[in-house]
Symmetry: C2
Subunit: 383 residues, 2 copies
Amino acid sequence: MSVTAAKGFTAAGIAAGIKESGNPDLALVVNTGPRRAAAGVFTSNRVKAAPVLWSEQVLKSAQVSAVVLNSGGANACTGPKGFQDTHATAEKVAEVLGRGAIEVAVCSTGLIGVLLPMDKLLPGVETAAAQLSEHGGEKAAIAIKTTDTVHKTSVVTKDGWTVGGMAKGAGMLAPGLATMLVVLTTDAVVESEVLDEALRAATRTTFDRVDSDGCMSTNDTVLLLASGAAEVTPEYEEFAEAVRAVCDDLGQQLIRDAEGASKDIKVEVVNAASEDDAVEVGRSIARNNLLKCAIHGEDPNWGRVLSAIGTTKAAFEPDRLNVAINGVWVCKNGGVGEDREKVDMRYREVHIVADLAAGSESATIWTNDLTADYVHENSAYSS
Amino acid sequence: MSVTAAKGFTAAGIAAGIKESGNPDLALVVNTGPRRAAAGVFTSNRVKAAPVLWSEQVLKSAQVSAVVLNSGGANACTGPKGFQDTHATAEKVAEVLGRGAIEVAVCSTGLIGVLLPMDKLLPGVETAAAQLSEHGGEKAAIAIKTTDTVHKTSVVTKDGWTVGGMAKGAGMLAPGLATMLVVLTTDAVVESEVLDEALRAATRTTFDRVDSDGCMSTNDTVLLLASGAAEVTPEYEEFAEAVRAVCDDLGQQLIRDAEGASKDIKVEVVNAASEDDAVEVGRSIARNNLLKCAIHGEDPNWGRVLSAIGTTKAAFEPDRLNVAINGVWVCKNGGVGEDREKVDMRYREVHIVADLAAGSESATIWTNDLTADYVHENSAYSS
């Protein structure tokens, strides 16, 4: 059900001809109200795509009536013309919906450095608008795919209200945010400030801790739209947890569909002196190409975990470090621990625990293995 | 000629049986004097192998009589026993040479987390000592190879004095230092303080800017030994340049032999506000897996260069960035530049220039492409 699981939203997904393949490439999500509160989180990459620069402005008013998303082109590094194209797209959506352009967020994904085919995109907006439906959520989720092999949706329904969402992302997945477009919707009655707080809290421990390949995109966008159509105002904690649950589920779906991956690796850092230390160590482990190759080869090469920990500034003593791989403590006190032959790595999920023995904080980062398929997928053609 | 190109040095390389393959695995380099000044630079990884911890102590006296190096085992993450083994190795060398153990540096390379077979290593020291020769430099260079496909040596001869050296390193190559063992020798008359200054200046712009796979080792060591046998005291600038030239040559040899690589990539950052900015940007580009895959596929995907630059804190304006690949300015002012079809990427060396348009400083980082062969080599077995 995706973005239309919550009441007060319609959506559509169509093939506008942006992709040469003829696959769906344009999605429209419309908040039919009565409220139009919204919050957004964007890439921390300083090279931001035109749609990110535009949508950041849109979110300043904290009111979003519609989101238009295209795959088949990122509209990044496209200069003033690229920004004009984003603006024209928002104007077109505003025109067909009878709203103001400043209430229309725009998201794009695909190859960097190529202008969008506006002669196809703008007519596509009209076609999509004509197909808007309370059942259009899945089609919208399909239309934003790039190298994704599956479309990603998630829904949490509570007592009279719902949070739902869709996501795309498969490569260039790294924090701040992971490379992706995400639109979340809710029919709960929630003010923009509260949406913002819940969204930032959720992304900090979900999407921001998904790090498939350490590469940060120019287009990452996560939007949360609230229609108020359920006429229910939930408690903050319950609402925030629902948003977090949907984000977590979508983040897991991103990792499971990461380009070329054969393993999903949960890197859990425990007993850190601070949460920041835990995140720094987790990220260092998650980005270690040699370790990611070893995991691909089902080799519990804990020395590569220790060498990754050693590059951080986190508080720890080398001779107190412990590492478990799939439940076997292969490294104890910085040296050889249990027999590495005991480690069973046949399954897709691999669980690494790094015990810093320096405090009581923890954090979990999700990553993938490094495979020949990843190399192939990212070298065989531009993406 | 390697480490025995300079007068006052003997060396040997033998197969002690540490490697199961039976290949050479033990090298000995001896400074026969009359002077024994020395300097060393070690990994900045906080998880340091036992031989690094030992050799750091040795270098405090700034006197080194001999260096014993083994491949076939890193003696890292091996606890107190590992340190005892390093100590025993130094004692053995001291005994056979009639010197003090505190003048014997130890270097190890190979798999982390495995104790060395001391029953083979210690007799090997005696065998190596018996074969010490002024022509032994090449054999020593061969004995320190791990996944290296070729041994690496370099020599610069000036007016009456020489700087020579050997290096190993193929994987886990990243700065501070790149994963490697390097022993440099000179017969010039140079005090330890001057050796130290020249060595740090040289490594800062050579080995520290070699970043094949972003993975930093536990065992990196670069040693510079001076025998004074040439009885010539060179000018500092000339000596420092000779040391830099040998380091640069060896660093280039490391990159050209990096595991699984098919391209050597020179990332040159120009017009940066500071040298630190240039290095930060260069490293970010050099570590971007997606870009490294694209280069492997001979795809001048400059969008991935810009997305890597955007993750840094360096001073720049996104719409003033320029990027050239093999001489073609494919990105101008943050957008589309010259036709990417003009870029010829058929050859092994690829030259990326990132122009930050923010100042006048520059730096060059060398890296490699990311290939299926790299994945294979680092997943098929423990290394």
